[in-house]
Symmetry: C2
Subunit: 224 residues, 2 copies
DNA sequence: CAGGATCCACTATTGGATCCCG
DNA sequence: CGGGATCCAATAGTGGATCCTG
């Protein structure tokens, strides 16, 4: 029982609000997805269930989840005090093709232009099926948020373009960071080094820091 | 060999600059103070040595260290990267007499009006006698720094005045915090509770958070 | 492999406890 | 006890590693 694609933003929001309070177990049953008991076996399952329940356009992966609305869906795990427990994955990095892109053309910019955050109330010791869906929040980055994202993105993408990948660590970036994005630490892919030769490096992605998404959610709640 | 009281700010600063680079062992010998090898046996010894070496007016404890100059002396331990390793003690709190004081009349305000910071380069594994004195920095809180200190002080002193001492923890306060200040956790002193009756509570003091003094020192270095 | 993410060992932080001296 | 502070066990934070599905 997967939902059809919502036709308007209002329809999408109404559906999302209707899911608030349900457990992942209940929602999983609705869309015929089994929810593992142990969290380590269910990474990503909340996101997949919500895609189905809300009618996201599957399998068009360079596009936002809701193509015609231009909206990206992100589930975000909150601790009991309401703060994000984790960073938020934005997109993978093509290490060989960052040189000739600017901010407004970047995947990060486009992915974050409009995001529907669906919180999952996720105390670390609570089994996955018992975790509850929270109230959704639709985000468009403010001017100030854009400025911070852009500053980090420009610094990081310049390093990547210059072949400095091996000097990048998760420490860099105030709100946006670069971290490994792979099945394991042994994964490798090609990237140009500082002299343009090939080097093999671990695949990476952009992530939003928890402190940033916390501030975003707080702002959206206040304006609600 | 204790120095006489310096007569001008310039004289005090000149003396402090002249001490930069010396080890605590060397400086201790000059003022006839033995410096224990183990840091745990020498809490406070750096401060006492520098008081003597710079000619601080001893034993007038409601006053600044340099009475006629209105300057308070604080040694501050830095890690190898130059960041403060510890919070900075400001003053003890008289729990029974905070109700009728305002910020400009407070001990915190007066203690921090003008502070001579003398850094001690203090890698945690370096024996006390081998630690070196750093370059001094004279601080008067900026407008912004005042604002932050005042905001924290007003919130905390109001809690104390209302008898809410037992709800105060070191978590409160962005730049100024309240923490125990006693020989041991069993020390107790009288304080009024929320109904004005007596309660026995652990003695406490105001402290500056390390992040705040780090920002202060950075600002002073840039303007140097 | 790319997209959906979270895990968790390690490091950094810190706040309550403590130490010395006069 | 008040002034000079730092110690250090416990917690918070995080960044590199990992898990599942189609």
């Amino acid at each position: 029982m997967c939902a059809s694609e919502p036709r308007t933003e209002a329809e999408l929001l109404a559906r999302a609000w209707a899911l608030a309070g349900l457990t992942l177990g209940e929602l999983g049953a609705r869309v015929s997805v089994e929810v593992p008991f142990e969290p380590v076996r269910g990474k990503g399952v909340a996101g997949q269930i919500l895609e189905k329940a809300l009618g996201a356009t599957a399998a068009s992966r360079a596009e936002p989840d809701f193509v015609s609305l231009g909206i990206e869906l992100k589930t975000i795990p909150l601790d009991p005090s309401g703060k994000p427990r984790e960073s938020t994955f934005v997109c993978s990095i093509s290490l060989s093709s960052m040189a000739d892109t600017d901010w407004e053309q970047s995947t990060v910019f486009r992915k974050l232009a409009k995001v529907l955050f669906v919180p999952i109330e996720a105390a670390s010791d609570k089994p996955l099926p018992h975790r509850r869906v929270g109230r959704p929040a639709l985000w468009t980055p403010s001017h100030e948020e854009q400025r911070m994202l852009r500053a980090d993105w420009e610094r990081l993408s310049e390093m990547i373009a210059r072949g400095d990948v091996e000097h990048i660590t998760g420490h860099l970036g105030r709100v946006l960071q670069v971290r490994p994005k792979a099945a394991s630490g042994r994964s490798r892919r090609r990237a140009p080094d500082d002299e343009g030769a090939v080097q093999w490096t671990v695949p990476r992605g952009f992530y939003l820091r928890p402190g940033f998404t916390a501030a975003v959610l707080t702002r959206l709640r206040q304006q609600e």
